[in-house]
C-alpha cells in the first residue's frame, strides 16, 4: 500500500478520533460524576455547530463563531441541566433515556424551526485553508492538522483541570463518593451544573470544529453521539484516559478499516465486489472492536470493575 496514503489516513483517523474524544470526555465526565446517561449530548454538539455557523456567517469571523459555539453550547447545557437534567439524577436509567430522548426531539425540531431544513455551511478560516507539506512529502489539509492540535490542546487542558485544580479535586471526589463532596463543603448543585456545562462546551466545540469540514444540519449530533458511546464502552465509563484511548482506537479503526478491508478482499474477489463487501464490512469494524473489548473486559479498558 502507498505509504503516503497510509500516513494521510492515519492523520485522518487521529483527527476523527480526537473530535470523538471531545464528545466522549463530556459524556463520561457527566456519567462519572452524576451517574447520568445523556442521549442529548449530540444535540449540544449540533447546537455548537449551528451557533458557530450562524455567528461566523453573520460576522465573517471564524474565531467569533468558535466563541459563540462554546458559549452557546455551555449556556444551553447549563439551562438544560437546571430545568430538566437535575430532576433525573435520582431516577433510573430508563427515565434518563426517555427524558434525554425527549430533549433530542425538542432540540432537533426547535433547530429545524429556527434554521430550516437546509444545511448551513461554515467556512474554514482563510489562515487555515489549503494544504501543508509535512515531512516525507505528505500533503495534508492545514485545517485538519489544526483540529488535531486543538483537540490535543483541549485534552491536555482537561487533564490539567482534573489533576491540578480545585474544581478537578471536587470532580474526582464526586466520582468516588458523593457523600464525600458534600462533606468537603462543596455546593453539589453548582458542581453538577458546571460539569454538565463543561461537557456541553466540549461537545459544542467539537460540533463547530467538525462543522467546517462537514455540513451543519439537524440530526448531525446523534451519529457522533453513538460513536462516542462506543468510545466509552471501549474506554470504560467515567475514565477520561479511557475516553482518549478509546476515541483514538475508534478513529483509527474506522479510517484504516475503510481502506484496508476493500484492499484485503481485493486479494480474492474481483475489484467491484471487493469494494462492496469490503466497505460494508468496514462500516462494522468499530463495532467488532467494541465486541472484542467486551469479551475481553466487559467494563472497558480503563473501567472500574463493579
Amino acid at each position: 500500500m502507498d505509504l503516503i496514503l497510509l500516513a494521510e489516513q492515519i492523520l485522518n483517523g487521529l483527527q476523527f478520533g480526537i473530535m470523538l474524544f471531545l464528545m466522549a470526555a463530556g459524556l463520561t465526565l457527566i456519567f462519572g460524576v452524576m451517574g447520568l446517561i445523556n442521549l442529548a449530548h449530540g444535540s449540544l454538539y449540533m447546537i455548537g455547530a449551528f451557533c458557530a455557523a450562524a455567528v461566523a456567517g453573520w460576522t465573517g469571523s471564524f474565531t467569533l463563531g468558535l466563541i459563540a459555539a462554546l458559549a452557546g453550547a455551555a449556556a444551553a447545557g447549563a439551562l438544560i441541566e437546571l430545568v430538566v437534567i437535575r430532576r433525573l439524577y435520582d431516577k433510573d436509567h430508563l427515565d434518563q433515556v426517555l427524558a434525554t430522548f425527549a430533549l433530542i426531539l425538542i432540540a432537533s425540531e426547535g433547530t429545524r424551526w429556527v434554521f430550516g431544513s437546509f444545511p448551513l455551511f461554515l467556512d474554514i478560516p482563510e489562515a487555515l485553508s489549503g494544504p501543508v507539506m509535512l515531512p516525507g512529502g505528505i500533503q495534508y489539509p492545514l485545517y485538519r492538522l489544526a483540529l488535531i492540535g486543538a483537540g490535543l490542546g483541549v485534552a491536555a487542558g482537561l487533564f490539567l483541570l482534573i489533576a491540578r485544580t480545585r474544581i478537578g479535586i471536587q470532580i474526582r471526589a464526586g466520582e468516588n463518593d458523593r457523600e464525600m463532596i458534600a462533606a468537603l463543603g462543596v455546593d453539589i448543585d453548582r458542581l453538577y451544573t458546571f460539569v454538565f456545562a463543561l461537557g456541553a462546551a466540549l461537545a459544542g466545540l467539537a460540533g463547530a470544529l467538525v462543522g467546517a469540514i462537514q455540513s451543519v444540519q439537524v440530526g448531525m449530533g446523534e451519529p457522533v453521539l453513538i460513536l462516542a458511546f462506543v468510545v466509552i464502552v471501549i474506554g470504560g465509563i467515567g475514565s477520561i484516559k479511557g475516553a482518549l484511548v478509546g476515541a483514538l482506537l475508534v478513529g483509527l479503526t474506522d479510517t484504516l478499516g475503510k481502506i484496508a478491508l476493500p484492499g484485503l478482499f481485493g486479494l480474492f474477489l474481483d475489484p467491484a465486489q471487493a469494494t462492496q463487501v469490503g466497505s460494508a464490512l468496514a462500516s462494522m469494524a468499530i463495532y467488532v472492536l467494541m465486541a472484542m473489548v467486551l469479551i475481553w473486559r466487559p467494563t472497558g479498558l480503563y473501567g472500574v470493575r463493579a
Binding site: R87, F101, E109, R112, W113, I226, I232, Q276, A280, Y287
Partner: protein
C-alpha cells in the same frame, strides 16, 4: 373485572371496530393507519418482553425490526427479479409467501438478538443501553453500505406478498392478518409473564442475588428473553415492510428504537396492552399533530418530558430498580 381488563377490552374492540367501519365507509387510509399502529404495537410488545418483564433497557431493537424488514425485502426482491438469493453452496430462491418470509424473519432476528444478547448481557445498566444502541447503529451503517440491496435508497417491492387463503391486496384483509399476529403474540406474552420463565425473569430483574441462590442463572434467563423479544420485533419488521412494500436503512434507525421504548412508557410498562395503547396513541398523535404542525416532535418531546418528570412514577414504576429490595 379489573379496571385494566376493561381498558384492554375497549382497546381490543376499537382495534376490530374502527378498521371495519373504515372498510365499510371506504376509507382505506384509515385502515393503513390502523395497520401501521398494529404493526408498531407488535414491535413494542416484542420489546416489552425484554424491557417490561426483564428490565432490560434495549435501545437497539430497531436492529431486529430492520432485519425482519430486510429478510422480507431480499426474498421478495429476488422473487420479483427471478434471481436466486444464492447459488452456492446451495440454491436458495426468493419467495413471495408470507408464512415462509415470517418464519425466516423470526429466525434471523432471533439469531441476531441471541448474538447481541450474548455480548451485551455481560454488562448491565448504562453499558447495556449504550451497547445495544451501538449494535443497532452497526446494522444501520451496514444496510447503507450494502449496495446490492439498494444501499441508502432501500428496496421497493412492487406487489404485496401473499398468504394462503387471504387476499393481502385488500387493506382490511392484510390488517386482519396483522391483528391476528398481534393477538397471538399478546396471548403468548400474557402466558409467558405467568409461566415459570416469566416469574424467574421478573425475579432476575428485581433480586438477581436471590435468583442465583435458588439455582437459576439470570444471564441465561435474560438471554432467552432478549432472543424472544428480538424475534417478535423482527416479525413486526417483516409486516411493516409488507405494509409499505418498501425497505430502507431507516428501519434500522436509532430513533425507531427510542420510539419503541416511548410506546411502552406512554402505555404503561406493567401492562400487557401498554405497548398497544402507546403505539395507537403515537400513530394518532403523529397523524393529528403532524397535520397541525410540521414540528410536532416538539410537542411529543414535551409530552414525554412531562410523563417522565411528573408522571408520579406510576406508569413506569414497574421497571428495574424501582422497587427497593428491603425496607
Amino acid at each position: 373485572m379489573s379496571r385494566e381488563s376493561v381498558i384492554n377490552w375497549i382497546v381490543l374492540a376499537g382495534l376490530v371496530a374502527v378498521p371495519l367501519w373504515a372498510h365499510l365507509s371506504d376509507e382505506p387510509f384509515t385502515i393503513t393507519l390502523a395497520t401501521r399502529a398494529v404493526i408498531l404495537a407488535l414491535a413494542a410488545v416484542g420489546l416489552n418482553i425484554a424491557l417490561g418483564i426483564g428490565g432490560l433497557v434495549s435501545l437497539g431493537h430497531a436492529a431486529f425490526f430492520g432485519i425482519g424488514g430486510y429478510t422480507m425485502g431480499i426474498l421478495a426482491h429476488h422473487a420479483q427479479t427471478y434471481t436466486p438469493v444464492m447459488e452456492w453452496p446451495l440454491l436458495i430462491e426468493g419467495t413471495k409467501s408470507m408464512p415462509v418470509i415470517w418464519g425466516l424473519s423470526i429466525l434471523f432476528s432471533a439469531l441476531a438478538a441471541f448474538l447481541i444478547g450474548l455480548l451485551s448481557l455481560r454488562t448491565s445498566g448504562v453499558y447495556f443501553i449504550m451497547i445495544t444502541l451501538a449494535f443497532g447503529q452497526m446494522f444501520y451503517y451496514f444496510a447503507i453500505s450494502w449496495a446490492e440491496y439498494g444501499g441508502e435508497d432501500g428496496l421497493s417491492i412492487y406487489v404485496r406478498n401473499g398468504f394462503p387463503g387471504v387476499n393481502t391486496l385488500v387493506p382490511i384483509q392484510f390488517y386482519g392478518l396483522c391483528l391476528v399476529a398481534l393477538l397471538i403474540v399478546l396471548g403468548f406474552n400474557a402466558a409467558l409473564a405467568r409461566a415459570p420463565f416469566g416469574l424467574a425473569l421478573g425475579a432476575a430483574r428485581q433480586v438477581p442475588a436471590r435468583v442465583r441462590a435458588v439455582g437459576l442463572d439470570p444471564y441465561r434467563l435474560q438471554l432467552l428473553a432478549f432472543t424472544l423479544s428480538g424475534a417478535i420485533t423482527g416479525l413486526a419488521g417483516a409486516l411493516f415492510a409488507d405494509l409499505n412494500r418498501f425497505v430502507s436503512p431507516t428501519m434500522f434507525s436509532w430513533q425507531l428504537s427510542g420510539e419503541l421504548i416511548v410506546f411502552i412508557i406512554i402505555g404503561g410498562v406493567a401492562r400487557l396492552f401498554g405497548p398497544v395503547i402507546g403505539a395507537v396513541l403515537f400513530v394518532v398523535l403523529e397523524h393529528w399533530l403532524g397535520g397541525l404542525s410540521d414540528y410536532w416532535h416538539i410537542y411529543l418531546g414535551l409530552m414525554l418530558l412531562g410523563i417522565v418528570l411528573f408522571g408520579r412514577g406510576g406508569v413506569i414504576g414497574m421497571v428495574a430498580g424501582r422497587e427497593r429490595s428491603h425496607d
